[in-house]
Point group: C3
Chain length 436, copies 3
């Protein structure tokens, strides 16, 4: 009997010793108790303790201290939160059919976006993003920045990133409601190299930055780059999962480079064609560029409304008169399957929609947008588009989009003389997109 | 004694409780039995149960539910099979020496392929691939598609991918037997943006698709893109590891874009040089392009034979007469070290060779190939090549290739007048390739 | 009592059986002992053994046999060391202000480097690296090679990589002391496609290689590529963490391609501008290019000195006289926070600095550099720069650099006639860099 019990105890101790280290609990404590109880001798204790420590070390060294996640791409995070890395990307496959009126637009297919994206956290306080777009047959860097977060919620960003201007611009192309952003998006400053600061409170966000030019916009002659300052304020008294209100205002002031030229032009919200009906050509003698933007958006369950107005003033010298352009859009969206558009308050933009059902989510939307590039001596044309959109979200990462666009151009919307004005085509286009 | 036994029991229970959760078995069952046996009290049971559940939750949250694999690149898979991601690539380093006859071909080195490849599975039913080639000093997207697999074995693919035509074309450049595909490969449609369907039975596969143009082939003027339909059938009554028979037939019909031009030209199965001896220049007034391809291949242990014939008809209007071109190749391969070429039945193409020995695998091969671009008014030339190939597979991912090519061109194979015809050089070229 | 003990034993055995396999120890041994002791019957033994083996197999198949590491990027390693993969990159964000003298240099911003880097180990003996730089708005391959390490410390490399020449050139741009390498770096051969061998002893390293041309330098006409041989020896009697001495000598001999031209030009150690003051234009009739380099560097705690001299001889034919150019630099660096520059002996170059404190590391440095491109008929100009550098290492991966450069050009340093000579601007430039 004693033998049996002894075997039991030894086995138990072995079991516990082993297990304890596997479990990373405190094996020593148990051994101490057992020794103090007289259940094991000091000698046995010493030996077991040694084994224990050795084992614990071995375990430690082979421990998985990094979490790996895949949702189509890959993400790794150290458990201490100090380091992470995420590799992802997006591929948008487009096809467009043009029910032509006066001009040929060119039916066809294209890869609208084809991006690889890396981002990570370094020593907790720092993070970076580096993303490249291969869609045009070459490689264009989109985001490439380093960010310092030690003063969160205040963050400082250095590198190439989007100037804080326009709700639709700041919403990723992965998540915009229609295949292309609205006509007045031509006025948004997009990405430049600079330094920015971003912060937020309970109901507001503020962002501002000083920016040079995009990495490939450096003048060929060695004049100085242009530079600008841009700021944006958003106010959102409500930002729940199914209910949100967003109001925003932004302003941007820019000094041009030595060429002192600026050009605005826009495709008819369809990218397969290269025709840009509204086109100011290069406007000379620019000595300053001022932009104001107003934004509003509301989400109420499956329904959502969004609108923006952007005003642009081109100050000119050498006797050329100033010119003003503007544009606006408004749209509504309805998820028949009950989802809500996902408002990301801290970013002041919209994000990923996750279908409620395994069958996916269905969204209907309609938009009116207009841009007016006629003022004084500049006759860039005026365009108006009505779009009907149908989005099917197979899952959070794969979306089918169908857009039907009714285009209404004025006489001056003639691609700077390259095509006939007053052209009013209808456009049918589709996209299958994945992001990972 | 009672005390000893009690200690034993407590220790055992502790051990089991701990262990059980670590093992993710059902600890509750054991506790229930012990309680029902009267070994432990209800109170003890409750406490242990609570500890158990808490532990189990902790374990769960830190569980590694993603499998990570590296064979030089990296692959992650969730254990439920719903998500995966793989990052890989290939680098081919080439050098060529030209034993010149009449024209300079340009000895030298190059990176023949330099690709980064991402692919993944999203929510089980969907997968994607996105691959970019950097070898030409810019970035060219090769594959970029989204695929739906819920109706497996039937799969639907949308994006840019290879049209289903030609055994050698559909075999990855990582796995082709000679450094370059044979001369008639010039007729294969290669990759375009479109939608395709692929399915297979026990002994056959079928693939078909409708395709626009490659992402960077969009006409500068805004004419419509060309488009085509392509289909392929393969039959393989035997497809074992060391024995396989493959028969295939494919057809492709294409309507050109508004330029109505097509051009065929081909290098002498060597890519360091830029001389394309056979060259039709741009053939005008094309109104349709029809291609037929026949394929056959057999594997018998270390021996393998493969051949293809491709016929191309260019229908023309505006009084221009139709023209016909064709080409074919046949080759044999022998693994001195006993391996077999790896036939992938479902894809109807060949795949990775895995050496049997740690010392690697050695393959000898010889090929005859010809392309005839002379017909009626078109004198693009005729080329004939005999190639002797030596492949050494250090391991499944690293291969050394040596090719000796005897080139026999006719009088018209003059690179559209840029070089002298009837040029019969000898070519020695080598490649070290890695894929990961 | 017997029942109790029996329960104990069964529980213990279960516990041990489970645990043992989880721990991958030898469960069989325990079972054998227990059977031989008569504690368990043969029947029980058989059953337990079966369970044991089954469990062990299950464990095995789901075991994490890959180690995943993130320091901002991601690295995976199989525990057997046979395979690994690392994905990283670097982003350098620059801004420059030019206190101009005679010529406009163009203030502005740029992404100086924007690279994605993959490397891995395949079947232990082989490794590869494949890195792409997107900073110029396209995609340039930097390293792309396959390396064989079975004869370590001797390694054979095939592909595109840096010729073994110049300490500063071989030190990664991530780790150089000033924002740009010194003026004479223009003479260093940089990367080409070739085959090289590298080995080292206790105090020396030797590297040599035969190289063609970089992948995108192939002549348009089909002349043969140029080729060269380059070798380097380094001697380092001391290479400790805080003390190191490095002496090096390198030579390179190159035969040009059929164009027989060579050109040397250099920016004023600032890359935002495109002005290259010193510029020989294309030197014709080159029939050989010989370069010699001498290197010395010493590290003594926080202090470090480094210098190089490079001599270049252009042998010419067709009656053109030979020309000789040279250049040199010397600099000192001091870590106020006590760190030492990190000398990597086996590579014969410098590596990553790791700050001692969480607050980061601070380095002051100053450099004098000069390049002389005037000789005989060639008047490429002579440039001299004095640079004051300030580096702040937030952590090992993020660094802020500030450089103030005093430029002193001679009359011929006129960018081959494009700008005025004798231009002596002052340059202030800053960089924030991350590598992951």
């Amino acid at each position: 009997m004693i033998k049996f019990i002894f075997v039991c105890i030894i086995l138990c101790l072995t079991a516990i010793a082993n297990m304890a280290f596997a479990e990373n609990t405190e094996p020593q404590e148990l051994l101490i108790i057992l020794r103090d109880n007289g259940t094991i001798t000091q000698e046995q204790y010493d030996k077991l303790k040694q084994t224990t420590e050795h084992k614990a070390q071995e375990e430690q060294s082979s421990r998985v201290d990094v979490k790996v996640i895949s949702k189509g791409g890959v993400e790794v995070q150290t458990y201490d939160g100090n380091f992470s890395f995420k590799l992802g990307g997006r591929v948008f496959v487009d096809a467009a059919y043009y029910d032509e009126d006066k001009n040929a637009l060119g039916d066809g297919t294209e890869l609208r976006k084809a991006r690889i994206d890396t981002k990570g956290i370094i020593f907790g306080d720092w993070d970076y993003q580096f993303e490249i777009d291969f869609a045009d047959g070459d490689a264009d860097i989109s985001d490439a920045y380093i960010r310092y977060n030690a003063f969160f919620p205040t963050r400082i960003t250095v590198g190439q990133f989007k100037e804080p201007f326009s709700l639709e611009e700041l919403t990723s192309s992965k998540f915009i409601t229609f295949m292309e952003r609205a006509l007045p998006n031509e006025f948004a400053p997009d990405r430049n190299i600079g330094i920015g600061i971003h912060t937020h409170g309970e109901v507001w966000t503020a962002a501002a930055g000083v920016f040079g030019e995009e990495f490939d916009d450096d003048a060929d002659d060695e004049g100085d780059e242009g530079w600008g300052v841009t700021g944006r304020l958003t106010y959102s008294p409500v930002h729940l999962d199914t209910r949100a209100l967003h109001l925003g205002a932004a302003a941007s002031y820019r000094i041009p480079d030595d060429e002192k030229k600026v050009k605005f032009d826009a495709r008819p919200e369809s990218h397969v064609t290269d025709i840009k009906y509204v086109d100011t050509d290069k406007i000379k003698n620019m000595d300053s560029l001022i932009k104001y933007g107003l934004e509003a958006s509301g989400v109420l369950g499956p329904f959502s409304l969004q609108g923006e107005y952007i005003y642009t003033n081109i100050g000119r010298d050498n006797g050329s008169e100033d010119v003003d352009f503007d544009g606006w859009y408004v749209y509504g969206s309805w998820f028949l399957t009950g989802e809500s558009r996902h408002y990301k308050f801290k970013k002041g933009a919209f994000g990923r929609v996750t279908p409620m059902s395994k069958l996916g989510a269905l969204e209907l939307a309609t938009r009116y947008s207009t841009i007016d590039l006629n003022d004084g001596p500049i006759t860039g044309g005026e365009g108006k588009n009505i779009t009907f959109g149908f989005n099917y979200y197979f899952n959070p990462y794969i979306r089918l989009m169908l857009n039907y666009i009714i285009v209404d151009n004025d006489e001056d919307a003639d691609a700077d003389g390259d095509v006939m004005g007053n052209d009013d085509p209808r456009i049918v286009q589709a996209r299958l997109q994945v992001d990972f």
